[in-house]
Structures are given as structure tokens and as C-alpha cells.
């Protein structure tokens, strides 16, 4: 009886994770603009992998392998949203006509993002270090 309950829970979690990943894929192909696609990919990627790995943990029970799975979840939750954030920020940085493609709420931030950092020559560096 316990086995059946465990199987049902893990199957439900895995299927939910698969559904999330599938909707992410559909979003990546369906949306027109890069930021929308990043939104779909990053969001559903995170949730989908969490649900699938939780399903696997429930299926295997509490072992060393499932502890490692938890570490994998922590790693992916640290890295995947940051990657999505960086891709979105790159789009804001390099798209010259952002307001044509998306609704810009904070124009000042966008302008500030586009200002190139003042390039310093190696001579300046040595002076700084000398001081």
C-alpha cells in the first residue's frame, strides 16, 4: 500500500515537471521576442527540474543519492535563474530599440545600462596601484 502511494506521488511529481518543461519549450518556440522567450525558458526550467528531481527522490527514498539530488537542485536553483537574468540584461544592453520591442517602465535604467564604461589604459592602472 505504501509502495503504491509512493509510486503515485513520484509519478505525479515527474509528470508535473515534464508538463512544466514542455510548456517552457512551447513558450520558447511560440513567443516572438527574446525577453518573452527568456521568461518562459528560465521560469519553467527551474520549476520543471525541481519537480522532476523531487519525483526521483520520492521514488528512491532517503539515500545518499537523494541527498546528492538535493545538492543538484540547490545548484540549479542558484545558476539557472542567474543565467536567465543575465541573458535578459544582455538584451537590454545591446538592443538599441528596446521600446519598440517591449514596454519600458524605467527608461533611466535602460539609458544608464547603455553608457559604455570608461575604458582605462594600463598606464592608469599602474598609477592607481602606485598611489
Amino acid at each position: 500500500m505504501l509502495d503504491i502511494i509512493r509510486f503515485v506521488i513520484s509519478a505525479a511529481l515527474t509528470l508535473a515537471g515534464l508538463f512544466c518543461l514542455l510548456s517552457g519549450v512551447v513558450g520558447v518556440y511560440k513567443f516572438r521576442y527574446a525577453l518573452s522567450r527568456v521568461h518562459a525558458a528560465a521560469l519553467l526550467d527551474t520549476v520543471g527540474i525541481l519537480l522532476m528531481l523531487l519525483g526521483v527522490i520520492v521514488a528512491t527514498g532517503f539515500t545518499v543519492a537523494s541527498l546528492k539530488m538535493l545538492v543538484v537542485i540547490a545548484f540549479l536553483w542558484l545558476t539557472s535563474p542567474v543565467a536567465g537574468h543575465l541573458i535578459g540584461r544582455l538584451e537590454v544592453t545591446i538592443n538599441d530599440e528596446l521600446s519598440r520591442d517591449a514596454d519600458v517602465l524605467d527608461q533611466d535604467y535602460v539609458e544608464q545600462e547603455k553608457v559604455p564604461e570608461t575604458t582605462t589604459t594600463p598606464a592608469d592602472d599602474t598609477q592607481e596601484e602606485a598611489q
Binding site: V82, L86, L90, T93, I94, P116, E117, T121
Partner: protein, 339 residues
């Protein structure tokens, strides 16, 4: 010395060679004909024939030009209507034929493979049996794969490390923007630097916090994988790739000015060359002693300990360093052209 026929210019071979070298137009052909006629007629050239002759030649040139234009336009029409349709069919038929051919070839190969797991298979010979039964005692490595690639077949692994190194050197030759002779950065380098800072999100706080947390963990995990290459699955190649990824993450979070403090082009040169030279020298030593049945100072030790398995941990470190430096060098060279 080759003789040239007197009528080489007007022979079909001469015209073919001329056409191959310079291309040809109808006007050229007409001019050639004209010269031909001139050379035939110049003995009997007379004044009152001259004008009519000029006229006839002019007409012939005109006709030749028109003929050529007609030919080109009909060719163009054919290519844009019937020709493209024909070529599409040719493409479809050729792709189907090639796909079916490759599938049939692969299926035929798969059908003729020996059954999986059969003890009589050709792979189950005395070599693999020797590796499995004697490998741990002879090399001291619990991980049989590490024992194979870094002891029995270490020469092959040296070649693989060299392949990586040569690839990095090739990318260096192609992409590196070297400073000028007096050590000052060239305008190309400054442009590359400006581009690099322009097309990149700057000082991302989220990425920096995440990198602060993750980079030490990633580097530690890479070192663990390298050092335990002879005990558990892993080794120089995978561990070096993990360490290189950690370095790349650090670079992306904090920029070149931070990484230049510990990793410059000089570091890459020194580390790669020292690692490869150490690998070559130590394997030369063990080949020499092994071939001459001399006692080696590297003993297999106790299998399962960190410092066991003779040379394997040190060779793993060398391979890991080469792979790490190569990964990082590839990234920086493709991004900025320098390290």
C-alpha cells in the same frame, strides 16, 4: 621545350585555354575571326574592297553580340523556371537516396554486430581480461579506466593532451591581438577592450554574489575530481573542465581586471608547458625502466589511498592543469583576443 603550333591561337585547344584563363565574350570571338580574315586577306588587300569589308566585319560583330545575349537570356530563363524546379527535384531525390543509403548501411552494420554480452565476442580477449584481473595490482589504481589511460596507454593520453594544447596554440595564432614591440597595446587591442565592455552587462550584483558562493565550490570540486581520478570515476580531463568552467564564471562576474592578477598569458604559457613537459618526462622515465626491467622508484602503493598508484595522481594533475588552462584560454581568446 614545347613547340607551339603556328595556328595555336585559332585552334580549338588554344581557344579553350584562352577561355579558361580570361573568359571569353562573343566580341572576342568576332575579333579573332577578324584577325583570321585579315591574315588570310592581307596579301590581296585592295583599296576599294576595304570599306565593304569593314562593314561586313561590323555586322558580324553585332550578330555575335546579339547571339551571345540571346543565349544568356534563354539560359537565365531556363535556370529560373525549369532549371530551379529540376534542381529541387534533384536535391530531393539525392537527399532521399543518401539518407536511405546511410540508414541501410548502418542497419546492415547493426544487424551484423556480435550479440551483446556474449563471452565469445572479439572485445573479450586476453587484453581486457588482463586489465580487469591484474590492473589494480599492477597500477595500484582502483579506477580501472584511470589505470588504463594513464598507465598502460599513457602515451595515447599524452597525445590527447598535446591535441588540446595544439588547438589552443592554433586559436592563439589566429585570434590573439598581440601588443606592439614596445609593449604598448595596439589600437586593435583597445578597440577589442572597448567592445568587450560595451556589449556586456556591467558589474552585475546578482552574478557577483552567486559567483562568490559558487566559484570556490566549483574549483574545490574540480580539484577533488582530479585528485581522486585513480580512486573514483573522474580524472584529469573532467576535473580540468570543471576548474576551467569555474575560472570562466569568475571572469564573467568580476571582469578581466580581477583575473589578470592571477592568470595572464604568461601563466598560461608556463602552466601548460610545465605540465606537458612533466608528463612527457615522467612517462619517458617509466617507459625506460619498464622496457629495461629496471626497478622504478614509483610503486603502486596501497590501492585506494590518495597517494597511491605510482605516477597516476601526478599525471592526472598535469592533464587537469592543461585542460583547465586550455578551456580558459579558448574563452578569453574568442571573447577579447587576449588574456
Amino acid at each position: 621545350m614545347a613547340k607551339i603550333r603556328p595556328d595555336y591561337e585559332t585552334s580549338w585547344f588554344g581557344r579553350l585555354m584562352h577561355w579558361l584563363e580570361n573568359g571569353s565574350t562573343a566580341l572576342d570571338d568576332a575579333m579573332t575571326d577578324e584577325m583570321d580574315a585579315h591574315s588570310r586577306d592581307h596579301l590581296v588587300d585592295s583599296e576599294h574592297h576595304h570599306a565593304t569589308q569593314e562593314h561586313a566585319l561590323e555586322e558580324r560583330r553585332h550578330a555575335a553580340l546579339e547571339r551571345e545575349q540571346r543565349m544568356y537570356s534563354s539560359l537565365h530563363q531556363w535556370a529560373s523556371t525549369k532549371g530551379s524546379r529540376l534542381m529541387r527535384w534533384v536535391y530531393i531525390v539525392a537527399s532521399v537516396v543518401m539518407c536511405v543509403g546511410i540508414i541501410a548501411l548502418l542497419l546492415n552494420t547493426a544487424a551484423n554486430l556480435p550479440p551483446y554480452g556474449d563471452p565469445d565476442n572479439p572485445v573479450n580477449n586476453e587484453v581486457s581480461a588482463h586489465y580487469i584481473t591484474q590492473g589494480q595490482a599492477e597500477t595500484g589504481a582502483v579506477n580501472i579506466v584511470a589505470g588504463m589511460i594513464l598507465d598502460y596507454r599513457a602515451f595515447d593520453t599524452l597525445g590527447e593532451s598535446n591535441v588540446l594544447f595544439i588547438a589552443a596554440v592554433t586559436v592563439l595564432v589566429l585570434l590573439r591581438l598581440a601588443p606592439s614591440r614596445d609593449g604598448k597595446p595596439t589600437t586593435e587591442m583597445l578597440e577589442a577592450e572597448a567592445d568587450d565592455r560595451l556589449y556586456e552587462p556591467k558589474h552585475d550584483m546578482i552574478l557577483q554574489h552567486q559567483a562568490n558562493l559558487l566559484v570556490p565550490l566549483i574549483l574545490l570540486f574540480g580539484i577533488y575530481v582530479v585528485m581522486n581520478g585513480h580512486i573514483s570515476p573522474g580524472g584529469g580531463f573532467s576535473g580540468g573542465a570543471i576548474m576551467g568552467a569555474g575560472l570562466i564564471l569568475y571572469l564573467n562576474a568580476f571582469g578581466f581586471r580581477k583575473t589578470e592578477r592571477f592568470f595572464t598569458f604568461r601563466t598560461f604559457q608556463i602552466v601548460s608547458l610545465m605540465a606537458l613537459a612533466f608528463y612527457a618526462c615522467s612517462k619517458a622515465y617509466s617507459f625506460f625502466t619498464g622496457a629495461n626491467h629496471l626497478p622504478s622508484i614509483f610503486s603502486p602503493g596501497t590501492p585506494g589511498m590518495l597517494f597511491s598508484a605510482g605516477l597516476i595522481p601526478y599525471l592526472n594533475i598535469a592533464v587537469g592543469l592543461v585542460v583547465c588552462c586550455t578551456m580558459y584560454a579558448f574563452y578569453t581568446l574568442f571573447r577579447k583576443g587576449d588574456m
